[in-house]
Subunit: 326 residues, 2 copies
């Protein structure tokens, strides 16, 4: 099923203990789209400025991504982010953010982008997420990412946006901040209990469903999945050298949502979601091996499949019970 | 195979967001012994003061733990620790530490304790760990825990102690601090490369083996295992309410080392170690459900076996490859 992603397209200047890059192609929608393109058709919606060119679009086109809804704002500058990571890559400092054309962004979706069955709302202002969600009322699966900024300054809007989607993908710490619950399981259960007020849902002609899938990203520790059915957790794929974590979360989301989109005939069971989590984990592990989109650009399906097998082998243990001294 | 553990026996006064307890039975050797007692015979070596009584010893005896090497120091006070945990239980503040009889502790092992095949050196001064290790030269499996304090003030001794054991169980952050490597896999590989200088080993009539098993405890995220054979990671068993994390690490070690001791006829393969990691994870999850040793005191073998099955179910996914758009 085709996937529409709405979010940032950016230039990133990044310094890590292993090197630096200036004005690389980046942005949540870009990282998401490249990862999801291994699974299904992807349509990108987001603004760029005059400084964005054919060379950048070609990176997306080479992976078959539909860029017709990438909006060129004449006279504008593409979103720019500059950051530096600490020695263990777990801390990062933002040195510069220039919103450029992203300031005052109002997503314009073509008929084509509105016809997708799957929608990913990358981290943008939650009222915009809600607006886009309303433009795809019949989407079969909708997922959302966000960040601490929106929890701080637009929590009510964010809660309404979350109530309108099926799947919430947040950092561990953001999930706790959002719910005020320090425990991951309780925080996730809290979000699972959210649903649109039934009157609103009725007015919109929808059944009030609310989120049924909560994914907590835990950085180098991996990710956890909480549904009404159960709990699942996967470690990150172990790497001896991580070069640049930028975009890992969006690449993870691209693997997760892409995998689900590629299985239109399967119900959204935990069994399916667990396989999707494994593919998300593997995509993210490739992303951090090099700067920006460098590694994913030349990634192959065979490499993904091989690492899925490795990850599978790394998480197996025999559950055979032992007679214990009770 | 019988297990000897050398370490602290303590009174803990603990405050968490869920309540408080005064002068509970605690200490690394106690938490370890109670957990390991589900698997094999355990002998505890450690000092207590006049303030320690039959009631406390009975808690260990009830689980079959051999307390004949618990040394009563006349006129002394039992080691005392007081701490308070923050809202998410990940931060804790030490409010008081009174070493008491633990100051100037020189472990005295009976013939019986020296005859054990398995030895756990809980977190004590590393020269003492090395001394005890020398008293069990033929032990089949020796594991060690430590803490940031010893990395700061006695790193050389700690490295020699580590070189003398088979298995190192440390917190994630301690492993990075010890090696100066920010990445878990590289840090673990570094420790795996350590081995006693061959001359020393020859003089002692031993083969120079060095550590072959590295376990990184990651708190609420679980634990990882690194050996020369491979990598394995397990999430913590998910709990909606954690009451008191005190002793979780030592309980984990008791489950791990106990499981290995209970399988004397199996080679120390990753397959065995993974099962041991699962039992360690489950024991630790029970420990944190209540204050101090309260939950483990009334734990049953059936409860452990049931949770092993649950943990197994929570970590399974199908590794079936998908044809990707490469």
């Amino acid at each position: 099923m085709p996937i529409t992603v709405v979010g940032s397209i950016a230039y990133d200047t990044v310094k890590t203990p292993f090197g630096e890059r200036e004005r690389m192609l980046g942005g949540a929608a870009v990282h998401f789209a490249l990862a999801a393109s291994f699974f299904d058709d992807v349509r990108v919606v987001g603004p760029v400025g005059d400084d964005f060119g054919e060379r950048q679009l070609a990176i997306l086109r080479t992976r078959g991504v539909d860029v017709s809804d990438v909006e060129l704002v004449a006279g504008g500058k593409t979103f720019f982010w500059q950051g530096e990571y600490g020695w263990d890559l777990n801390s990062r400092e933002t040195l510069d953010t220039q919103l450029g054309v992203f300031e005052g962004f109002s997503p314009k979706l073509s008929e084509n982008s509105r016809s997708s069955d799957v929608l990913f709302l990358a981290n943008i202002q939650p009222d915009l997420q809600l607006d886009v969600r309303g433009q795809l009322p019949d989407a079969r699966f909708v997922a959302l990412d966000s960040m601490n900024l929106w929890i701080d300054i637009a929590r009510d809007s964010l809660v309404r946006a979350i109530e309108s989607v099926d799947c919430v993908i947040l950092n561990d710490a953001e999930l706790r901040q959002l719910t005020g619950k320090p425990n991951l399981v309780s925080a996730a259960r809290e979000v699972l209990s959210w649903a649109p007020a039934s009157s609103e849902a009725h007015a919109a002609g929808e059944r009030p469903r609310g989120p049924s899938v909560i994914v907590a990203k835990q950085g180098e520790y991996g990710a956890a999945l909480v549904t009404r059915e159960g709990f699942f957790a996967l470690p990150a794929y172990p790497l001896e050298t991580v070069i640049d974590p930028t975009g890992a979360g969006d690449t993870f989301a691209g693997g997760l949502v892409g995998y689900i989109a590629a299985h239109p005939d399967e119900a959204l069971t935990d069994e399916l979601l667990r396989r999707a989590m494994a593919h998300a984990t593997v995509l993210a592990s490739f992303n951090v091996e090099e700067f920006g989109t460098e590694r994913i650009q030349r990634l192959s399906g065979e490499e993904i499949a091989a690492r899925i097998q490795e990850l599978h082998a790394m998480t197996q243990f025999s559950g055979t019970p032992l007679r214990l001294r009770g």
